[in-house]
């Protein structure tokens, strides 16, 4: 399995200073990950746990108050490893949009409000291509817009004249235009109805099949992860707590947070009360000592309050950062778990 992206011990923190008081927000805390090429890779996790910060760091868009304290990010470009954090800004610019493209969260508000959509497109293309190619790309952009259900004349309007979902689709059309190898998409479909969402995800998937590229998709919608990602990482309080094939994560989630998350999903036809996870999300200003989930975890024991568990392989391909799980002492709905695990092994075989 070749990889397109590797991060090692990445720490990216926000440092805020207010009235002489210094606050450090540990948004991405010691993350080590490998993202294979030709994969739709999902990232899920609690609100405020650092997913957007991780994506911003992957795009090498690091500006104060965000600082990288340690770690590396390697992209595989033409059989070479490139450490993006050590690139000069001109080199970064060259890589952006053509090699890595990024759909930021809230992309519905990224357009310049006083410019028509077309001039945003042209400015964007101006930076990368010229002349004939540019015109071809403009007509390609009309094609991309059409595929997500937008008429060519959205190019002639101002952003405020489009609904939230329309703007989001324009942003996606823009990000897929230059056939990038890696697309980082942060909540790209939050403003869309399920039909348009499906059309957008199908466009992303088509682009993915056509180019054999990698899409890193951050979303809260577990349904989307189930539908289109093949592997995923679950984040909690700045750390990756679970990582593995999507099917395995749904069939037998290993981390207690993931288990809660999957159980909390409401289904149409079901009205019985469901609760969110008891307790509140940890503040990244002063995360709890030890495992960040321990204050809300029913399996926590003394070690969990003292040390941070590292992400380790528990079954082939499927990693978890949880002491009780790693010790095999975690018997979450014992019977059900065992059944899931055997089904899980079938999935591994299925994947070859």
């Amino acid at each position: 399995m070749s990889r397109v992206l590797r991060l090692e011990n990445l720490k990216a923190f926000y440092v805020l200073e207010a009235w002489g008081e210094k606050k450090v927000i540990q948004a991405v805390n010691n993350v080590t990950l490998e993202i294979p090429s030709n994969e739709v890779y999902g990232i899920a996790g609690e609100s405020g746990c650092g997913k957007s910060t991780l994506l911003r760091t992957l795009f090498a868009d690091i500006e104060p108050p965000l600082y990288v304290f340690s770690g590396r990010i390697h992209y595989r470009v033409d059989d070479h490893d490139i450490d993006v954090l050590s690139l000069k800004s001109a080199e970064k610019r060259k890589l952006r949009w053509t090699y890595i493209s990024y759909i930021p969260q809230g992309s519905m508000s990224v357009f310049n409000p006083v410019k028509r959509i077309k001039s945003t497109f042209l400015d964007f293309l101006e930076d990368h291509v010229r002349g004939k190619v540019r015109e071809n790309l403009l007509s390609l952009s009309v094609e991309h817009l059409r595929r997500v259900g937008l008429p060519p004349n959205v190019l002639d309007v101002y952003p405020h004249q489009l609904s939230g979902g329309m703007r989001q689709r324009v942003a996606i059309a823009l990000a897929t235009l230059l056939r990038p190898t890696v697309i980082l998409a942060d909540e790209p479909t939050t403003a869309l109805d399920v039909v348009a969402q499906r059309a957008v995800l199908e466009l992303l998937r088509e682009v993915h099949h056509e180019l054999g590229n990698t899409i890193v998709l951050v979303t809260h919608d577990m349904g989307i992860h189930a539908q289109i990602t093949t592997r995923m990482a679950i984040m909690y309080a700045g750390r990756v707590v679970e990582e593995g094939p999507t099917k395995a994560i749904f069939a037998s989630p290993l981390h207690p947070y993931t288990q809660y998350l999957i159980q909390a999903l409401p289904h149409i036809g079901e009205k019985k009360p469901k609760e969110g996870i008891p307790g509140s999300p940890p503040s990244l200003l002063s995360p709890p000592l030890g495992c960040p989930f321990h204050p809300r975890c029913v399996f926590a024991f003394s070690l969990c309050r003292e040390k941070v568990p590292s992400l380790e392989e528990f079954v082939p391909q499927h990693k978890v950062a949880c002491f009780s799980r790693q010790r095999g002492e975690c018997v979450f709905e014992g019977e059900k778990m065992r059944r899931y695990e055997s089904k899980n092994m079938d999935d591994y075989r299925e994947r070859g």
């Binding site: 004349n153 309007v157 099917k247």
Partner: protein
């Protein structure tokens, strides 16, 4: 209260926008003859296609957008009269906007906006009372005062901002909350906590909610009734159980079938067709869904379907006439 039992009544509201450049102008009926009512202590969902006019309705209710025609009545008084009592109206009708990144002034610290609200509405006397008051509301959405204290909107995550804007809207104990996609940026667990909070406030404080969402599973879970919109019209409206378990309008059926199931073994079947040209559908004569409907007949392309009541559900489709 007298005449009606509705808290908010929307009557035949229409909104027309003109878009396009100087030479190529089109008029869009973003909202067309829409009527519905929300009862006290009711959670009412407004769902439907992106760009079908949901936010426009919310903005008209809140007074940020002028309606082209129709009437809106809140507590048995026309919205026009409420304009003279703006402060009281705002206290009673609060909003959570669709894009949390745009709903806070980027130049103000988030907690300042909270302080401003509690002082403006005389909810507390001084800062000593204000902080625990604000903290309590923030705790209900999984945040705390210390997390927003002297932080600017750009320094919070999407979901944190969204939760902060819900907490802020609930400060004044409104009787109606107009919530435009209030949980689109939070995870399933927090999403449940927030919709449970709506349900609790409905029980305890008689709060009504206009819940605008694309998340039909939470809509099913918390709301009493739902209206499904398509291109400016309500195409189906009724109790959530009826509409979502047994959808009658072909568009509602398409919506239901497109919900991404949280089960990697059950993938979407086939592929979807989105509108070729969104605006053309808006301008189309007859049923606006006809171009994509597999059941469409000749009359669907010619005549605009009227609403029919089928088993307590309003449906706008020729098949039920």
């Amino acid at each position: 209260m007298t005449a009606t039992e509705e808290l908010l009544q929307i009557e035949r509201v229409t909104k027309v926008f003109t878009v396009g450049s100087f030479f190529f102008k089109t008029r869009i009926n973003a909202v067309e003859n829409v009527s519905f009512g929300i009862k006290p202590a009711e959670i009412f969902t407004l769902a439907g296609e992106s760009g079908c006019g949901k936010s426009t309705i919310a903005k008209i209710i809140l007074g940020f957008e002028e309606k082209t025609a129709g009437e809106i009545v809140f507590e048995n008084e026309s919205i026009a009269h409420w304009r003279e009592k703006r402060q009281l109206f705002i206290q009673k009708v609060q909003a959570v906007f669709q894009n949390p990144f745009e709903s806070f002034n980027p130049l103000c610290a988030v907690d300042d906006i909270f302080f401003e609200t509690v002082y403006n509405f005389h909810l507390v006397q001084n800062e000593k009372e204000a902080i625990p008051f604000i903290d309590e509301r923030l705790k209900a959405v999984g945040l705390s005062f210390s997390e927003i204290h002297s932080r600017y909107p750009s320094e919070l995550s999407g979901g944190q901002l969204q939760r902060a804007s819900i907490a802020r809207a609930l400060l004044t104990n409104p009787s109606l909350l107009v919530a435009d996609e209030p949980v689109s940026m939070v995870d399933a667990s927090l999403r449940m906590s927030i919709v449970n909070l709506f349900a609790r406030l409905r029980e305890e404080m008689n709060l009504s909610v206009l819940y605008i969402t694309h998340d039909l599973a939470t809509a099913y879970y918390v709301s009493d009734r739902i209206a499904v919109m398509f291109r400016g019209n309500i195409v189906e409206m009724g109790p959530v159980e009826e509409v979502l378990l047994n959808p009658r309008h072909p568009y509602t059926q398409l919506l239901r079938d497109s919900i991404p199931e949280a089960n990697p073994h059950r993938k979407w079947k086939g592929s979807v067709r989105v509108a070729n040209v969104e605006e053309e559908e808006y301008l189309q004569k007859g049923c606006k869904f006809a171009g994509r409907c597999s059941l469409a007949e000749e009359r669907c392309r010619v005549d605009f379907p009227q609403e029919t009541l089928v088993d307590g559900v309003l449906v706008r489709c020729h098949r039920y006439n």
